[in-house]
């Protein structure tokens, strides 16, 4: 994949580009991520931090530290969760592939997996073709 991926929040105030394919891709079922997004699970891709650039509206992001060293950024206007920075991994940036324009694949298909399955909604059916781990 060589094309630049573009994405935005719903209201369009915040836009970003990812200029390299993701290096990791997973679905997280932990209670924190579920509450953060209000969803049955959360899907994250990881890209080199330098390759993910906010092209518009970075000043419209609010920051919430969900744990020490884990900073989550969402649009102040529409509430879209957009990126995560982890202090212990300064070369990486997490983003949400569900907000990429055109619903394109973020890359790292060979890494796609479910994590924290031990915390998943008991009634949620998972795609059984993907690897699963109880925790990270």
């Amino acid at each position: 994949m060589s094309d630049v991926m573009k994405g935005s929040c719903m209201c369009g105030k915040v836009h970003f580009e990812v200029r390299e394919p993701a290096t990791d891709l997973y679905h997280c079922h932990c209670a924190m991520c579920r509450k953060m997004h209000g969803t049955a699970f959360a899907t994250y891709a990881v890209a080199p931090r330098d390759s993910m650039v906010f092209t518009q509206g970075a000043d419209n992001l609010a920051r919430f530290d969900s744990s020490p060293g884990v900073s989550r950024f969402f649009c102040k206007t529409c509430g879209c969760q957009m990126t995560i920075d982890v202090a212990a991994q300064p070369d990486d940036r997490w983003f949400m592939p569900g907000i990429l324009d055109g619903a394109v694949h973020p890359g790292a298909a060979d890494r796609e997996r479910h994590i924290f399955v031990g915390s998943k909604l008991p009634w949620l059916h998972l795609d059984e073709k993907l690897p699963q781990s109880e925790e990270a």
Binding site: H27, K35, H37, G79, H125
Partner: protein
């Protein structure tokens, strides 16, 4: 059942189970919650009580008739109101404490706006998958 946002500023209680539950794959819902497909429960307004944090909510109108409420502090989308069904409240199922079952799934759980899904993730279930709202199309 009780639920709330991640930071705890916004809390709610349900005194009735959901009477409708669906996973929405439309691009509006995906881009509002930063997910592949948010899951919503619909409950009678009389069965939904906002216990804490009304003043900590930001409302975003995703259309003229749909009003989404998220926590100003952590960004969690907690619930929404619509003008076309004022007697109901939509809540984000992922905000329920302890992964509680919202109820109503046996007869209603389905995937809507299936035509808008990302295409690269398959839920792997046998639930109905419908175009737009299927037969439950609201009056907008």
């Amino acid at each position: 059942m009780a639920g709330g946002c991640l930071c705890g500023a916004v809390r709610f209680e349900l005194t009735a189970p959901a009477h409708d539950v669906y996973h929405c794959h439309c691009s509006i819902c995906r881009k509002l919650q930063g997910a592949l497909y948010p899951t919503y429960g619909v409950v009678a307004r009389t069965g939904f009580r906002l216990m804490k944090g009304a003043d900590n909510l930001t409302t975003y109108d995703s259309s003229d008739v749909v009003h989404r409420h998220f926590c100003k502090t952590c960004g969690s989308h907690v619930f929404e109101d619509t003008d076309y069904q004022p007697e109901n409240v939509w809540f984000s199922v992922g905000t329920l404490d302890d992964g509680a079952d919202p109820g109503g799934r046996a007869t209603t759980e389905r995937h809507i706006f299936w035509e808008s899904r990302t295409g690269w993730y398959e839920p792997g279930d046998d639930l109905p998958k419908v175009i737009e709202f299927g037969e439950s199309k609201p009056t907008t």
